[in-house]
């Protein structure tokens, strides 16, 4: 671990360095101090004032009370000001301002006190009070700055999660897919073609399976396969003889729990990037094998195969992230050329790494 350099600047100019923008303050620091905090501050101050009044020399009670009152007003004003500016520069300004005010106050009172002892007592009280206020302001600013930073961080994380979900949903419900399918449905309905009803049924099944799909963290492979089948039926209706497909997955794998949409995305990629751009179309094979503890899925097409310099899109990077979250490093996704030409996506994991449901 590299040694962290000492920030000497903090010795003579302490406090949080980050100055929040107006926008950040509006998003994460727009709240007023809570009533609990105010009550706590008042109780603390009352205790200090009580002790100070007990210790004050007899005959100076009124002056001490006045000084304490002035202190209270000063501290409250400073705290309120810093509440909306919890960073280094305002803190320093306020600390210097409070100290100067205290010095002036001390000098003012001093003139009116004939007894040396009394002068000393009042001066000491003010000096201690000043020190306490300066330190409290520092604590207040530190605490407040951390509160706002934590809220901003939390907001950023939430936004990232929402963005991720949005992109997932967008990646899933491809508008091209939807509108092209609807175009076919519309035409076949108009000309009373018998293909309309099955296509509409397949589309409905696909939407029903995929729309709630991403709300859950995991999905049984069997359910995912149904969605894939619906998808392929839709594409079959649209592409006709240009698309041939086969799903061959061991029944034992149907209860395996995977992050939803992984196999579906691999299938859609194979159709959209592998087969649809081919003049003659092609063939897709989805295979799943269970050997002992090892689950192995393959999505193979006989399209043009991986293009040199191919970059992984949003769909694939989503898959990788969700696999990592759900199964850790034990799940592996490999993309490459299929032996007979074409593209092959391989997904392998141990069933213990995937979340298998507990035996009934």
């Amino acid at each position: 671990m590299p040694a962290q350099p000492i920030d000497w600047c903090q010795l003579w100019y302490p406090g949080p360095k980050r100055a929040f923008t107006a926008d950040e303050m509006a998003r994460a620091g727009s709240d007023a101090p809570s009533p609990t905090m105010l009550v706590m501050a008042i109780i603390n101050f009352a205790t200090v004032a009580f002790v100070a009044l007990q210790l004050a020399p007899a005959g100076q009670t009124a002056r001490t009370a006045a000084a304490l009152g002035a202190l209270a007003v000063l501290a409250a004003t400073a705290a309120r000001w810093l509440w909306w500016r919890p960073w280094r520069r305002p803190l320093m300004q306020m600390q210097l301002g409070v100290t100067a005010a205290m010095v002036l106050l001390a000098l003012g009172i001093r003139w009116r006190l004939p007894e040396r002892e009394d002068r000393f007592a009042v001066g000491l009280t003010l000096a201690v009070g000043c020190a306490v206020i300066v330190v409290l302001m520092w604590f207040l600013v530190l605490w407040r700055a951390q509160q706002i930073e934590a809220r901003l961080r939390e907001q950023a994380e939430r936004e990232r999660a929402i963005e991720m979900a949005r992109r997932l949903a967008a990646a899933q419900l491809e508008p091209h897919f939807l509108f092209n399918t609807l175009a076919s449905v519309q035409h076949w309905v108009q000309c009373k073609d018998d293909r309309a009803a099955p296509l509409l049924a397949a589309l409905t099944g696909y939407l029903r399976a995929t729309l709630p799909m991403f709300n859950r963290p995991l999905l049984a492979v069997g359910d995912e396969l149904q969605a894939i089948e619906r998808y392929l039926q839709v594409m079959q209706a649209r592409m006709g003889a240009r698309l041939a497909w086969r799903i061959d997955v061991d029944a034992a794998l149907h209860t395996l729990q995977l992050p939803p949409g992984v196999l579906l995305t691999l299938t859609e990629n194979a159709v959209v990037h592998g087969l649809e751009p081919q003049l003659g179309g092609g063939e897709l094979l989805l295979r799943g094998r269970l050997q002992g503890d090892a689950a192995h899925f393959e999505v193979i097409d006989n399209g043009p195969g991986p293009a040199p310099g191919m970059q992984e899109g949003v769909g694939l990077s989503n898959i990788r992230q969700r696999l990592l979250l759900a199964c850790g490093a034990a799940a592996q996704l490999r993309l490459g050329a299929a032996p007979g030409g074409g593209f092959k996506a391989e997904l392998s994991m141990t069933t213990s790494a995937a979340h298998s449901p507990p035996p009934p």
Binding site: P175, A183, S184, V185, Q186, H187, C191, Q278
Partner: protein, 255 residues
């Protein structure tokens, strides 16, 4: 009478557009309907229609590829299932676009626009069409161009590097490859139709000059104008000449 080409890789949307066109523009004569970009381009060369309705996502050549080849030779209307941002630029009227499923009222608008432009063909296009198409093209994925042509000759498969090819020529059910490589007296036959080959070749190197001829421009010696409508190419170090059809004569206009 106006003639049109309709291209879409899916049957139902294609049929829908055809049906909608029949009622929106009864006098329009659809001379060809193609199921991919390669057939669309070939059909354009064969029929040279005045109006082309092109789906954007098609196998072989995309609608944008086809439109770029057609250039200003015909009025182009794109059809797409989903409005890509760049398509909004077409609203300016240089070309038009339709969203699928095609809405009859919107199609009628397009038809009026096309008819108006046909009535005054001299009006210049409102935007830089070629620039727009180039921009759209950059968004599309393109496989790298073909590096090697594989030709079966007897029991062997001969590999011909694409730079060695002088020209390709349609020959009945085959494509004839004339090349500088050794063996087979510089000729070979392949099964890939010329129109499919076109989509795979490097556009910088290979120029289509006729519906049935694609030539490596490095081997062209001269373009000779025979009379008003006819032109042919002479080649470096070879006796034969290649025909240039009317559509491609603009490639050789001198500087």
């Amino acid at each position: 009478m106006t003639r049109a080409l309709v291209a879409d890789d899916e049957e139902a949307p294609r049929e829908q557009l055809l049906a909608a066109l029949r009622s929106a523009w009864p006098s329009l004569q659809v001379v060809a309907s193609a199921a991919n970009g390669v057939d669309a381009w070939d059909a354009f060369l064969e029929h040279e229609p005045e109006v082309c309705f092109l789906d954007i996502r098609m196998p072989g050549l995309s609608g944008i590829d086809v439109a770029r080849r057609i250039g200003a030779q015909a009025q182009i209307v794109f059809a797409t299932a989903y409005g890509d941002h760049a398509l909004a630029a077409f609203d300016t009227g240089a070309v038009d676009y339709l969203l699928k499923p095609v809405d009859p009222a919107r199609l009628l608008q397009t038809v009026h626009r096309l008819q108006a432009r046909q009535a005054s063909p001299s009006s210049p296009p409102a935007t830089d069409l070629q620039g727009l198409l180039k921009q759209l093209l950059q968004q599309a994925q393109h496989p790298p161009p073909l590096a090697v042509v594989q030709a079966s000759v007897g029991r062997e498969v001969r590999l011909i590097r694409s730079e060695e090819v002088i020209y390709f020529e349609s020959d009945a059910r085959y494509t004839r490859v004339v090349h500088t490589g050794a063996g087979g007296d510089g000729q070979a036959l392949i099964r890939t139709p010329l129109k499919e080959l076109l989509a795979q070749l490097d556009e910088q190197l290979f120029w289509q000059v006729h519906r049935s001829v694609i030539v490596n421009h490095r081997h062209i010696a001269a373009a000779v104008r025979v009379d008003e409508g006819q032109m042919h190419l002479t080649l470096r170090g070879r006796p034969e000449t290649l025909p240039v059809s009317r559509h491609f004569q603009a490639l050789f206009k001198g500087q």
